[in-house]
């Protein structure tokens, strides 16, 4: 790949990505490009491979076919004389530094306070001085609205607060790309909003984001593009209003109507509960 092509390349350039677990093919040739500054939501039923694809981008899973470039670097390999050579652990770690990841189950370090969680990687990985790391971490926690809770351990925080600390922790490494793996799926409904608003603010600030989510409202409002995946392939993609309001494929249509029904059921349940409480 020549220099000119590299500089033209989108921030994430995935071509024909294949991944199997124990012989079961989960990704069957995914092509996705994400430009710098773009917010892309991955939608699709569970088991469609969207989380797996996200994990492939920062090499928590190794792929068996295809290539993924992030910021012009081929993930996991170098190419010498037309032959791929697997990168060592430290090189892969270096590639991951550019990519922030937020997990469904938060995965905060339970033996560290919120502040220590955010300071850990800059100090240990980038060699930032402790004082600078602390200042930066406090500013980030302030930014996600948790300046007051910096000395709390994760177990003392609500799910929404933990997820916001997790976002601050990822941002502390100054990533070029943020991956969100169903960041609100493990949260109580009333805590979803606080996490989404932090993500919305991040998107407005120009962060490149790939978000696996079931929050259609968020996708419609914040995403520049949504990608609908099913059974390991990309079924359709485009601007959120086109795909969500006017899906072209039958699989997208049935998925979206199912989601809508669930939301209606959920809304109905809420109304029922509210009325029950009134009585």
């Amino acid at each position: 790949m020549s220099e000119a092509q590299v500089s033209d390349m989108p921030l994430v350039h995935a071509v024909n990505v294949h991944k199997s677990f124990h012989g079961v093919e989960v990704l069957k040739g995914i092509d996705i490009d994400v430009a710098a500054g773009e917010v892309v939501c991955l939608l699709g039923p569970s088991g469609s491979g969207k989380t797996t694809f996200l994990r492939c981008i920062n090499q928590l899973e190794t792929i068996q076919g295809g290539r993924i470039w992030v910021d012009g670097d081929l993930a996991g390999y170098t190419e010498k004389n037309g032959k791929l050579h697997r990168l060592g652990d430290s090189h892969i770690a270096a590639q991951r530094r550019e990519i922030g990841m937020v997990f469904q189950r938060f995965n905060l370090f339970p033996h560290m306070t919120a502040l220590e969680n955010v300071m850990e990687a800059p100090i240990q990985v980038k060699g930032v001085r402790k004082r600078e790391a602390k200042e930066r971490a406090l500013a980030l926690l302030e930014r996600v609205g948790l300046g007051e809770r910096c000395d709390n351990y994760p177990a003392q925080l609500s799910g929404g607060q933990q997820q916001r600390v997790a976002i601050a922790r990822a941002l502390a490494m100054d990533p070029k790309l943020m991956l969100f793996d169903e960041p609100t799926s493990a949260l109580d409904p009333e805590l979803v909003g606080e996490v989404l608003s932090v993500m919305r603010e991040l998107a407005t600030g120009g962060m490149t984001m790939i978000v696996v989510t079931h929050e259609m409202g968020f996708a419609r409002e914040v995403a520049d593009r949504v990608v609908f995946m099913d059974a390991g392939i990309v079924v359709e993609q485009g601007p959120p209003n086109d795909v969500i309001n006017n899906p072209q494929h039958e699989r997208t249509q049935s998925f979206l109507s199912r989601i809508r029904e669930e939301n209606e059921d959920y809304a109905a349940a809420l109304v029922e509960r509210a009325e029950a409480e009134k009585l």
Binding site: A93, P110, H111, Q124, V125, P154, M173
Partner: protein
């Protein structure tokens, strides 16, 4: 209508007659025991305390019992963690090596192991002794028809294996086999999401293990390690198999056989072992509080020594 609504509960509590019977039995037995301690001349308390503080006994306590416990536990913990990491490695050679080590050292009784340590010198007889140098140096010389030596220095194997060092090696390696299983369980107890989160932040595998996984594994590793340490204190009384005689129990026993006061010296040994283990229990609960940070919502003070003693005697009431 408010008079009809039930008010504060003032009920007769459940009676526990069985408990009162049990307490009465225990009180009587305890009184009998104290009476025995105070009135039976065989205890010879004066002699017990005199024996406890004889200088060979104190020397044996420090050099044999305490020092060997510390060194053997250091060897055990360091090798145990290494073995646990090897055991969990993808590489079959590493994981099988760790398995075979554990298999061997768990199968051989400590007393037998210490006895073997004392006899190992026979494998490396003087004057050559135990040489440190290039592996197969002599064979390479023969093969290439060269003269000279590839051994940098050699040690007297009987000195190495026959004394306290032999005891430390024997007990330490045996301990490593047990610690490996404890450390492995500890590492496996940490959620895989923790390693993933660390890797996603750009940490190398080694750093993720060292900074994120092991500190959390410690919470699971510390309590059984405390038990292992206490067991090790007691197992130093096996050192005579090597033979190492600078050790608490052997020294007390030899006073006993010189003076025919065999029972008082045994009591003296029991008192020393009780004291050491009590101190270790306090240290253990401090360590548990330290590594339990962030787990459970209440502070570490609630989970300390007092709480554990209370739970040992069956609740605070």
């Amino acid at each position: 209508m408010s008079e009809d609504r039930p008010g504060t509960i003032d009920a007769v509590p459940v009676r526990h007659p069985g408990r009162w019977v049990a307490i009465a039995v225990i009180v009587v037995l305890a009184a009998m025991f104290v009476h025995l301690l105070l009135t039976n001349d065989a205890f010879n308390w004066h002699f017990v305390f005199e024996a406890m503080f004889q200088s060979p006994v104190l020397n044996g306590l420090v050099m044999g019992t305490l020092l060997v416990t510390v060194l053997a536990m250091v060897v055990g913990v360091v090798f145990g963690v290494i073995l646990a990491v090897m055991r969990l490695s993808d590489n079959p050679v590493l994981s099988w090596t760790a398995f075979l080590f554990t298999w061997f050292f768990r199968a051989v009784p400590r007393y037998v192991l210490l006895f073997i340590m004392g006899t190992l010198g026979i494998l490396f007889p003087p004057p050559a002794g135990l040489g440190i140098g290039v592996p197969f140096g002599a064979q390479i010389n023969d093969l290439l028809g060269m003269s000279g030596t590839w051994t940098f220095f050699s040690l007297d194997a009987n000195n190495i294996f026959g004394g306290i060092i032999g005891g430390v090696i024997g007990l330490g390696l045996s301990e490593a086999a047990y610690m490996a299983e404890i450390a492995r369980a500890g590492i496996l107890s940490v959620d895989t999401g923790q390693r993933e989160a660390a890797c996603a932040l750009g940490m190398s595998n080694r750093k993720a293990m060292w900074r994120i996984v092991l500190p959390q594994a410690m919470r699971v590793i510390v309590p059984p390690t405390g038990n292992e340490t206490i067991a090790m204190v007691k197992d130093t009384s096996l050192l005579i198999a090597v033979p190492v005689s600078t050790e608490l129990f052997f020294q007390l026993q030899s006073i006993g056989s010189r003076t025919y006061q065999t029972f008082p010296v045994a009591v003296a040994a029991v008192i020393w072992y009780l004291l050491i283990c009590s101190v270790l229990m306090v240290v253990q609960s401090r360590l548990e509080a330290r590594f339990g940070r962030g787990f459970g919502t209440s502070g570490p003070s609630d989970h300390g020594f007092r709480a554990r003693m209370l739970s040992m005697v069956g609740g605070s009431k």
